[in-house]
Each structure stands twice: as structure tokens, then as C-alpha cells.
């Protein structure tokens, strides 16, 4: 690798950082203080703007780098991720988006707490939201680290660490200075860049194969070293029943987790009405669906053009397949085209990481300030303004994510995101669906449902091969593995639903008919919505 593309990529990085910092400064002028501004950007984004921002929030580096990389390494089994990530949006569209917009103000806990005894529910939902966000943040940090390691030509530990720290610092600046308004615009810019970059690469891959998808798939199969098996499921998840169950678990987590992601839910509050929330989801489904279709082409393209072995030798988890593909498509290392394309892709991926990370940090700082701090404040006596707390929380969460990101740097980013989805699906989705749709749901049911999903999900990850007992684990030298699956969803999602049901039927509290009626009327009509 020459220094040219690295220099150019760094120039593009810097340009993106400069532009986003300018956006942050511009939108944050004279706009200090109001929670409505900080968490929801004044609720005046249009459905199209919000649709792009949702897409920008959702299409993470894990998708762009991780999924294409998994397809390049394992063929069809990587594609299963893309399907899960997209189908999940039907859950959001049908069951969540409009109702959440109508019932809540800023966070997931708002929706649940409106029907229940407020304090315990807020603390529970706030805790699980922060847990999900931190897991998701770690995935993005790992993506940033491996991207820049590749970019600077080598896996220098110091370079990786400083990247992770730099990304963390930038996101804290964006979020605490600009709040939701800056975050949204960064996500919109990023979504446009990412779609443009992915489209350009897809077109180049298809041109390379003269538009013949058949030939693309055949070469991918031939270059992968697996032959026809590469094009059908089983390479990664078909070896034994543990692997199969693991994938079913992951599939469930993907499809049910999206609707419980705090940073996705908080995006619905940035539009004026439920109708606008629905229209933004329709926009985002269009964008996200086309993007994942393109990652499939890019993944098989990387396998066909580079070969699976080259991808694996650059990064064992496959995270660098797309930048390498771009280098090759532009004419190879050293050529102008290759230099430019590589730099563009690297900069787009970097923009992606920054935008997603900003969105998650904002959502989790909202959970800390609006749910946790607001519920615990009275005990401490002196109170600070909620927005000030949120700004500080953003910095603390940033620091935690940096530390964990450094620790987990060798795990595949798409896989890490799968974990975050599993926790979201186990802890957040059951309580959300129960409070929106179940007449007899009670406070105890809500609290049990959150902890009954959160605790098993986290515990099972700790006891899984991800944490210990395998060579790729977080602590390879230790072995306290008890649970065979990497993804806890198959067990913890039903547990979350079960705990909510158990808590409700065993609770002595009579269900409040009036508050249920109010929730239903508000959810479906928008009456009383802010």
C-alpha cells in the first residue's frame, strides 16, 4: 500500500469532520437549554428528512463493513443478516412507530411510564436502554478501530486506540453541543454519502461482470474456495446444531430487536405527528432495503474479485472487505482511481461510524438524564437542569464506550451488533408491546419484563463462548463458559415476555382501566400528543 490513498482519505476524513462540526456550531447557536430542542430537535423535521436520518442512524459501519465482509467470507450465511435487518422494520412500522410517537415525549420509558407507577418503570427502562446503547456503541468503536488500522497500513495498536478515542471525543462534542438537531443533520449527510458510495461501488461491481449477476455469483463461488456451497446457507451456521440454533437465535434478535433500540425510537419524536413518523419509516425502509440489497452485491463482489483468502488475510473478521474491493475496482493499489475510491469508501465508513455513534450517544444520554436522573434526583436533594445532566452523561457514556471498544477490538462488528439487538429485543420490546396492547398490564409486570429480559440476556452473553472458553473470546485465557450459543436471543426474548406476563398475573395491583383507555386512545388518535 502506498501513502497516497492514506493521505487522501485523511483529507476526506478531515473535511467530513470540519463540515459536521460546522453543522454542530451552526445549529446550536442560540439554542441552549430546552429539553424539547436537545432531545427532539424541536420536533419539526419533515418525514423525508427524518427518513434519511433514520436510515443514517441504522445503517451502521457494522452493515457496510461487517455484513459485506461476512458475505465475502461465508457467502449466503452473511446475507441472512441483511434480511433480518430489513424485515425488522415491519415490526417498527406496524406496531411501534406511530404509537410511540403519540404516547411518548423523548424516550422509551415515557411510553411505559404513562400507564404505570412512574419511578420503578423509568429506572428499569432507562437502565436497559443504556445497556443496549453501550453494547451498540462498542460495536461501532470496534469498526472505527479496524477501519483506521487498515487505512494507516498496518495494525498498529496505538493508531487503533487513538482512533477509538478520537471518535469517542468527536461524538461527545457533537452530541453535547448540538443535541438532536446537529445529530440529525449529521445522519442525513451521512445517509446521502453512504447511499452514494454504496451505489457507485455496486455499479462498478456489476459493470465488472457486464451486468451478469449469474457470472458474478459463479466467480464468487469459484474464488471463495467453497464452490457451490458458497451460494447456499450452511458455511458459517450449518456445521452443527449449536451453530444452527445460534443462527436462529440471531435471526430472532435481529427481527425483534430493531423496535427496541432506543436511538431508533427517539427518532420518531423529531417529527410533528404520528402520520409523519409513519411516512419517515416508509422512507427509511426504501433506503435501508436498497442499501442491504447493495451490500449483498458488494459482499459477493468482494469474494469474486478479491477472493475470500485475501479478505481474510487483511482482517480475520472480514471488516475490511469493502475498502479493499474499492481499491481493486478503481484500478488497484497505486493507481489514481484506486486511491480515490479507497479514500472515498474509507471516509464514508468513517462518516457512518460518527453519525451512528452520535445518535446512540444522544439516545442513551436522554435515558440517563430524562429517565434515570429524573427518577433518582429527589433523594440527592440539589438538582441540575436535565439538559446539563444529559450533556455530562454523553461524556461519561463516551468514555465507557471507548474503554469497552478497546477491549473488544477483535470481534466482528456485525456480530457485536447482533448482541445489542438481542438485549434490545429481550428487555425493551416486551415491555413496549405489553404497555401498548395489553389491557391488564401492571407496574410490576413492566418492571419484571425489563429485568426478566435484560438480566438473562447479559448473563447469557457473559456465560457464552463470546466471553470465555474459546480462542476468539474476550478473555481467551479464562473459561467460565456454560451457555453454548453466542447469541442469547432464543432464550432471553421469550424470558422477557414470560417475565412480563408473570409479573402482571401475580401482581396485587388492579389494572387501571382509565389509564389503559387513555393510552389506547392517545396511541391510535394522537390526542394529547406533544
Amino acid at each position: 500500500m502506498t501513502g497516497d490513498h492514506q493521505t487522501l482519505a485523511l483529507v476526506l476524513f478531515s473535511a467530513f469532520i470540519a463540515v459536521t462540526l460546522a453543522i454542530t456550531t451552526w445549529v446550536s447557536r442560540n439554542r441552549r437549554g430546552s429539553a424539547e430542542e436537545f432531545y427532539a430537535g424541536g420536533r419539526l423535521f419533515s418525514p423525508m428528512e427524518n427518513g434519511f436520518a433514520i436510515a443514517g442512524d441504522y445503517m451502521s459501519a457494522a452493515s457496510f463493513l461487517g455484513i459485506s465482509g461476512l458475505i465475502a467470507l461465508y457467502g449466503y450465511d452473511g446475507m441472512l443478516y441483511s434480511v433480518g435487518f430489513l424485515v425488522a422494520w415491519l415490526v417498527v412500522l406496524f406496531l411501534v412507530a406511530e404509537l410511540v410517537r403519540n404516547c411518548g415525549r423523548f424516550t422509551l420509558a415515557d411510553v411505559v411510564a404513562s400507564r404505570m407507577s412512574e419511578r420503578p418503570v423509568r429506572i428499569a427502562a432507562g437502565t436497559s436502554s443504556v445497556a443496549v446503547s453501550v453494547l451498540y456503541l462498542v460495536a461501532q468503536m470496534v469498526g472505527a478501530g479496524s477501519l483506521v488500522a487498515l487505512l494507516l497500513g498496518g495494525t498498529s495498536e496505538a493508531a487503533r486506540s487513538w482512533t477509538v478515542i478520537g471518535v469517542g471525543a468527536l461524538m461527545v462534542v457533537y452530541v453535547s453541543m448540538g443535541g438532536m438537531r446537529a445529530t440529525t443533520w449529521i445522519q442525513i449527510v451521512k445517509a446521502v454519502l453512504l447511499m452514494a458510495g454504496a451505489t457507485a461501488l455496486t455499479v462498478l461491481v456489476l459493470v465488472r461482470f457486464h451486468g451478469d449477476v449469474n457470472q458474478l455469483l459463479d466467480s464468487a463461488a469459484a474464488q471463495s474456495g467453497h464452490g457451490k456451497d458458497f451460494l447456499s446457507p450452511g458455511l458459517r451456521y450449518g456445521t452443527d446444531w449449536t451453530a444452527r440454533l445460534d443462527f436462529i437465535s440471531l435471526g430472532l434478535a435481529l427481527v425483534l430487536g430493531t423496535a427496541g433500540l432506543p436511538h431508533i425510537l427517539s427518532r420518531f419524536y423529531t417529527v410533528p405527528t404520528a402520520r409523519a413518523a409513519r411516512r419517515s419509516v416508509v422512507w427509511s425502509i426504501g433506503l435501508i432495503g436498497s442499501f442491504y440489497l447493495m451490500t449483498i452485491v458488494l459482499g459477493f463482489g468482494a469474494a469474486a474479485i478479491l477472493g475470500t483468502d485475501e479478505v481474510r488475510s487483511s482482517n480475520a473478521a472480514g471488516n475490511t472487505a469493502v475498502p479493499l474491493l474499492a481499491l481493486d475496482l478503481g484500478g488497484g493499489a497505486g493507481s489514481t482511481g484506486g486511491t480515490v475510491l479507497f479514500a472515498v469508501v474509507a471516509a464514508v465508513a468513517f462518516a457512518t461510524i460518527l453519525a451512528v455513534v452520535a445518535g446512540i450517544t444522544l439516545a442513551s444520554s436522554a435515558s440517563v438524564a430524562h429517565d434515570l436522573y429524573a427518577s433518582l434526583r429527589r433523594r440527592r436533594g440539589k438538582g441540575y437542569s436535565e439538559v446539563a445532566v444529559a450533556r455530562v452523561a454523553a461524556a461519561v457514556i463516551g468514555a465507557a464506550a471507548i474503554a469497552l471498544g478497546l477491549l473488544a477490538r477483535d470481534l466482528n462488528v456485525a456480530f457485536l451488533v447482533g448482541l445489542a439487538f438481542a438485549v434490545a429485543a429481550s428487555a425493551n420490546l416486551p415491555v413496549l408491546l405489553y404497555s401498548l396492547f395489553w389491557r391488564n398490564f401492571t407496574t410490576r409486570g413492566a418492571v419484571w419484563s425489563v429485568y426478566g429480559g435484560l438480566v438473562p440476556a447479559v448473563l447469557l452473553v457473559v456465560l457464552s463462548p463470546v466471553a470465555s472458553g474459546s480462542p476468539e473470546a474476550l478473555f481467551p485465557e479464562l473459561d467460565f463458559q456454560l451457555f453454548p450459543l453466542q447469541n442469547p436471543g432464543l432464550v432471553s426474548i421469550p424470558l422477557g415476555f414470560l417475565a412480563g406476563w408473570l409479573g402482571t398475573v401475580t401482581s396485587s395491583e388492579a389494572p387501571d382501566e382509565a389509564r389503559h383507555a387513555e393510552t389506547e386512545v392517545r396511541a391510535l388518535t394522537g390526542a394529547g400528543a406533544v
Partner: protein
């Protein structure tokens, strides 16, 4: 510039829900969602909070609301069940029966590829169907109910109802249309 204008309208609308955009723009074919206004609130109920929760209970019991809710559920329950079963079946087949999925269809394209792309297609189709169903069958009725609740809440809490002497629609007359809904329909 026009966009900016839109936003300003939005700001006005949020502060003053009675901000009335032009009554044009419903333009939805098949919007025959004539909703009977909910029954009048019970007279002489207790304090404000009590009155407000009574209003929600009454609207909740009204035929108009029950209709909106059953329309929503009649679409969402079967559609959710269908796509969820289709997705789970796909995942289980892919992991448990790879031989079936590997069967070739045309050239390098096998059953697995067709099923995967089928998931994308069904997602797009269901999205379109849901958006259309909500727009044609629910939006108008839901909006009417929203205004009915607003009316009653205002009557129950005179302090909130002081909005500069705008005419209050009589019971049973078409309710004012909300600015954003009208605007969105024009797009």
C-alpha cells in the same frame, strides 16, 4: 424558502392546535370514514384530572374509536403474523434444510437466493400496503377523534380553552382539519 415556510407553519400549529390550514387537500379517494362523534361527556364529573380521564374513557368506548382500533388491528394482526411466520420459516429452513435451499433454480441462482430476495420483496410490498391502508382507512377518523378529545378537554378545563375567540365547531359538524395532515396529503 417554501420549506422554511412549512416549518414555521408547523411551529404555529404545535403551539396552537386550532391553527387552521385551508380546508382543501383531503383529496383521499375512499375516505368515507364518517365517524360519529363520541357521546357527550357526562355532566358534573369531579376535578379536572378526573374529567380528563373520563373523556378518554368515553372516547375509548365510542363506536368511532372502536372502529379505528378494529381497522388497525384487522390489518396489523394478520400482516404481522404472516411476515413473522414467513421470516421464521425462512431462517429455520436456511439453517435446518440447507440441501433444499441449495437446489438450483436458474443458473447460479438457487432456492436460497430466491427466498432471500423474496423477503426483501415481501417487506417492500407490506410497507406499501400498510401505508396505503393507514392513509385511506384510519387517518381521517383518527384525526376527527383527536379533535373530539381536544374539544372536550378544553370544555372541561376552561383555562386552556381561551384561544382568542375562535369559533367552536358544533357537535356533529365536520371538524377542523389539521394543518400537517392537509399539507402532507398535498405532497
Amino acid at each position: 424558502m417554501e420549506k422554511q415556510q412549512d416549518r414555521d407553519d408547523g411551529a404555529v400549529r404545535i403551539d396552537d392546535p386550532w391553527y387552521d390550514a385551508l380546508a382543501s387537500g383531503w383529496g383521499e379517494p375512499g375516505g368515507a370514514d364518517e365517524t360519529a362523534p363520541p357521546a357527550p361527556p357526562a355532566a358534573g364529573a369531579g376535578g379536572h384530572r378526573h374529567r380528563a380521564s373520563d373523556i378518554y374513557l368515553e372516547v375509548h368506548r365510542s363506536a368511532a374509536f372502536q372502529e379505528v382500533r378494529s381497522r388497525y388491528r384487522r390489518f396489523v394482526v394478520p400482516a404481522t403474523t404472516a411476515f413473522f411466520i414467513w421470516y421464521v420459516a425462512y431462517v429455520i429452513t436456511a439453517t435446518a434444510a440447507p440441501a433444499l435451499m441449495a437446489r438450483p433454480v436458474i443458473g447460479a441462482v438457487n432456492v436460497a437466493m430466491v427466498a432471500g430476495l423474496g423477503q426483501f420483496l415481501s417487506t417492500f410490498l407490506l410497507t406499501w400496503a400498510y401505508a396505503r391502508h393507514a392513509r385511506l382507512r384510519r387517518d381521517r377518523a383518527a384525526l376527527d377523534l383527536r379533535w373530539a378529545v381536544f374539544d372536550r378537554t378544553r370544555d372541561a378545563q376552561p383555562a386552556l380553552g381561551d384561544d382568542g375567540g375562535k369559533a367552536e365547531p358544533a357537535e356533529g359538524l365536520p371538524l377542523p382539519r389539521q394543518a400537517d395532515a392537509a399539507r402532507e396529503n398535498e405532497r
